[in-house]
Amino acid sequence: MIGPGDYVALSVILFVIGGVGVLIRRNAIIIFMCVELMLNAVNLAFVSFARLHGNLDGQVIAFFVMVVAAAEVVVGLAILTSIFRSRRSASVDDANLLKY
């Protein structure tokens, strides 16, 4: 029988994969997608723990996470398009004006 622990293990694996993607990719949009993957993994953990406790609080928190993620994607993609408009690149290595 598949219990909540198995779902939490799956969410841990997805979270780590998303973190690896954030660390090794350089296209800012793909980094953003990996952050979304990490948020989804955390949502899965929330839903699993809600089922573990038999109440709905975890589902409500997951719902709030989805709302915040949608707002974050809107602002983040607007920033990306404005960076691309001025620098003609979506790579995070090229946004280095503050480095030196």
């Binding site: 622990g5 293990a9 990996c34 993957l37 109440n55 709905l56 997951a62 989805m66 790579s91």
Partner: protein, 280 residues
């Protein structure tokens, strides 16, 4: 599919069915996530991320959260991923992200950090001794939607109101960030005409497919000597590598160039006059 069937698919499914679906979706979602991290093209990443999100929606359904499953499909797969694809089409479909290490030791330390995080989280969860699911009450049978609504509008009513402020702020911020102030006055029709004449090309660019085998947009037009004209294909298409090679299907047709062969044109800019005469 009515409400009862959705709930039956979640809570009432047999243990074997749940096990089979869980393992199937676990393999699919982990494989798609790995493919997303490793795929070269950003569009492939977006499609694989959609696969992960749909798998997670079915997992929510299995865990007795039909409301969250539908929100996942509508908000994440529908809205967020469409926004991602929209920005990808603007920013760089053609930009390939080469998997090359730019920072020294980046991959090594990424692997160390990933293994460390995996071990840390696994140990934490292993110590937690997560038991079986609690006996599902009415919140998981028929009153899922009502239960969530009651929680949102009683216990979590203040965070719920704050999210409305957050959404309005995000919409305003996106509009401000995406808005571009016009630094120069808008060119009038006179300016455009003058610019076109001074640029040395009063005529419009040649259309694709003239004298070629067919007139699809990715088929370059043929000059009178049989060489393809690169000006006839939009740079958006040739930038993505979709342009047909001249040797592939754009070879000169024998009835077009029977006489003397003009010197081949490399960039299609010099013999403009020839092409226009040939077109008449």
């Amino acid at each position: 599919m009515n409400h009862d069937m959705v709930l039956a698919a979640g809570g009432g499914a047999g243990a074997e069915t749940q096990t089979v679906v869980f393992w199937l979706l676990a393999v699919v979602s982990v494989g798609a996530a790995l493919g997303m991290v490793l795929a070269r093209r950003a569009v492939h990443c977006a499609v694989l991320l959609a696969g992960v999100m749909l798998s997670l929606a079915v997992l929510y359904l299995l865990q007795g959260a039909p409301f969250l499953a539908f929100v996942q499909v509508i908000v994440y797969t529908g809205a967020v991923l469409m926004l991602f694809l929209f920005v990808l089409m603007i920013v760089g479909v053609s930009s390939r992200d080469a998997i090359v290490e730019t920072i020294k030791g980046q991959w090594l330390w990424t692997g160390v950090a990933a293994i460390g995080l995996l071990v840390l989280l696994s140990l934490t969860i292993g110590h937690a001794a997560i038991g079986p699911a609690a006996s599902s009450g009415t919140a998981y049978s028929t009153g899922n939607l009502q239960g969530i609504a009651r929680l949102i509008f009683t216990t979590y009513v203040f965070p719920f109101e704050v999210t409305s402020a957050l959404l309005i702020t995000a919409a305003l911020g996106a509009m401000v960030l995406a808005h571009r102030e016009r630094a120069t006055p808008k060119p009038t029709q006179r300016d455009l005409a003058r610019r076109r004449v001074t640029a040395g090309r009063p005529a419009p660019l040649p259309g694709p497919g003239t004298y070629a085998r067919h007139n699809a947009v990715d088929m370059p037009a043929l000059l009178p000597d049989g060489s393809p004209s690169k000006l006839s294909v939009s740079p958006v298409i040739s930038g993505r590598g979709f342009e047909l090679r001249p040797g592939e299907s754009g070879e000169p047709l024998p009835e077009i160039a029977p006489g003397e062969v003009l010197p081949p044109d490399s960039d299609g800019s010099a013999p403009r006059q020839d092409e226009h005469e040939g077109a008449r």
